[in-house]
Amino acid sequence: MPVVETPVTLTPSDAGLTDAEVHRIRNDFPILGTEINGKPLIYLDSGATSQNPVSVMEAEQEFYEQRNAAVHRGAHTLAVEATDAYEDARTAVARFIGARTSELVWTSNATEGINLVAYAMSNAAAGRGGEAARRFAVGPGENIVVTEMEHHANLIPWQELAARTGAELRFLPVDDDGALRLEDAAGVITPATRLVAFSHASNVLGTINPVDELVRLARSVGALTLLDACQSVPHIPVDVKALDVDFLVFSGHKMLGPTGIGALYGRAELLNAMPPFLTGGSMITTVTMERAEYLPSPNRFEAGTQRISQAVALGAAANYLSETGMGRIEAWETALGARLVEGLEAIDGIRVLGPRAGMPRIGLAAFDVDGVHAHDVGQFLDDRGIAVRVGHHCAQPLHRRLGLTATTRASTYLYTTTDEVDAFLDAAAQVRPFFGAK
């Protein structure tokens, strides 16, 4: 197993990180010491992708230098060591979200996790997986429910599932402020609903959705639930059993891990009854030219040579986060989020999407600058070394609903300092003057 470095010695407390700790944490992230346009990088785009600490990079390098081999396939020593490292990482990441090891399936990213479930459902509809898989089948007269604030990743796979199977895609609308209209839910989620898919935390609004309420509604009509936890797992403590969802997806690159890896959690009972999605080597027991028998979860869903070194690195990332303390990271980022919104709201001509200052939000804020296009805002900030994200943030329907096409988003992580937030706010206040907006 790769040696996971303890990031920094933190005071064991439930309060947020301290300024001093954050500064020590930053030393673990080489890229945070680089310059952009001759200015120190201020990275406020962790909502898109996070940076990697040294321990994560080292775990991967150590793997390639000492135990690289195909897993679950070889009997030689290297293969055994590679398999151990790979499966230990699975256990670490499963534990990180309160799941059992066999309930965690590696995917390329959250997007693939959602597609996996959507395709398994249409495979079930086509009769694959037999009687046991009937509960996953959807068809005409049945529906899938999402929300109007979803990331495209949690929308288009369901549109395609509906188109393939003849099922209907419905959605829970949001109000003018972007909040879910829960009062409409009873009319949308009906006994014909087979699955309700929604995001835990919105990557645009920064809101945390009422999981309990939506799970309760879905359960009451016998529908499955899938939670898009891309913006929650990296930033707040998440326990799949407490959330009581059926499926949950997230991406490694947003939680200090490498690109190219993500995970799908599914209740064991469901994963073992679900037809496979990708097929090929390492997920079978017996294969003839005519047919194949499949292994149980998680191998059933992991066809071909897997993202081995990426899994090992993601295990190291989960350990880094655990050792720092997810509760303390959450507290730190909540404070940063509040500072962001208060600061932005105080700037003339800036409209923040989602909850007003004082209302709960995670450590990000998307906003519109009156009279200045988001790409010009981003360019202005980039010139000062500030990296933010601009555009529709893969949520075109939500932007359209709020009367916008593009916004600017600043998002934080455990390594973001209050000074960085302040420097960003300072720059944001100068955008409209620079472009002569009035």
Binding site: N37, H373, H375, D376, Q379, F434, F435
Partner: protein, 150 residues
Amino acid sequence: MSTGLEQLYQQIILDHAKARHGSPLQEYLGAGRAGESHQLNPVCGDEITLRAGVAEGNVTSVTWDGAGCAISMASASVLTDLVQGLPRDEVLSLIDAFREVLRSRGRIEADEEVLGDAAAFSGVSRFPARVKCAMLAWVALEESLLAANA
């Protein structure tokens, strides 16, 4: 302010982004034929619809509707001023010349004699993510001119 940003957003660009010469889009009622093109920048979702009239081998009119960043809007505006009345073939060469500068990653300086105010967009070539912004109207004009000839 660094030179990078001021090279990108020259005053003439900021001004044209507001002035938007040639906008809104208009019916072409002149002689000859008109061609139209709609262009979408997939990176940001911004769009432009442009109509060009051509009579006796000359570009007689350019009008457009669009939503986009300062660079894209200014580029459409400058383009409109630049090409009105020029021979169609000359305009197609201008578009090629502009494209060459923009794709050069700062290696080719625009010739102000040829490109006029559009030379102000030279700086964009150092910002690969913004090249499409500056090109949007030019591609739309190119397509419109081809359509007018079809």
